[in-house]
Amino acid sequence: MSAQFDKLLPLLVNGGIEFILIGGVAGNIHGSARLTFDVDVVYNRSKANFEKISELLQPLTPYLRGAPPGLPFKLDLPTLRNGLNFTLTTKLGDLDLLGEVVGGGTYKELLPHTFTVEAFGVKFKCVDLPTLIKLKTAAGRPKDLESIAELQALLEESER
């Protein structure tokens, strides 16, 4: 199921969750023409943010994507505290909650490389294009090669 970007992003913002948008949706914000199906965010690993994430997402019945059904998974405070990166399915689609990303680090480390986007009636932080390219490159996944090429082309086009 494709994420309902227009519902998920406002929900996170209105719930007061501190996050930075990365991944394919961030690519689209920069002008990418590639379709993406999930929302990837780097979240702040503070106690207050854990509480907000837990409270806000539990009604969406988050579950580990690809895991067999029936596991006793609950996205609560201890789970968030003891875990780091969560690839989830939710009622509003797939959501990757990342505490740290290769090539970019934590929320606080990424913060200087973001800008504010206004969409769907809310404002949120999105990673800048050079950093998004850096993150994709650092991930080292063969499937990202085309995407990196497109993002670099976007950078060239936007600086023409």
């Binding site: 689209n28 920069h30 990418s32």
Partner: protein, 61 residues
Amino acid sequence: MKTRIYRDPVIEAYKRDVDRTLLRENLKLTPAQRLEKLVSFSSFAAELRRAGQRARLAKKR
């Protein structure tokens, strides 16, 4: 000032196939408009998937 990009020969090879006309059109839009376009395209793709499922089911019957 232009951002310096490391020129990886593999990426450069992929870059030759990037359709820059699509990118130039997207760059004319605001970030919010680009997201609206993504939402609209996602709905379209989901509808196509559902239509495909229906067609496969009908074929089985």
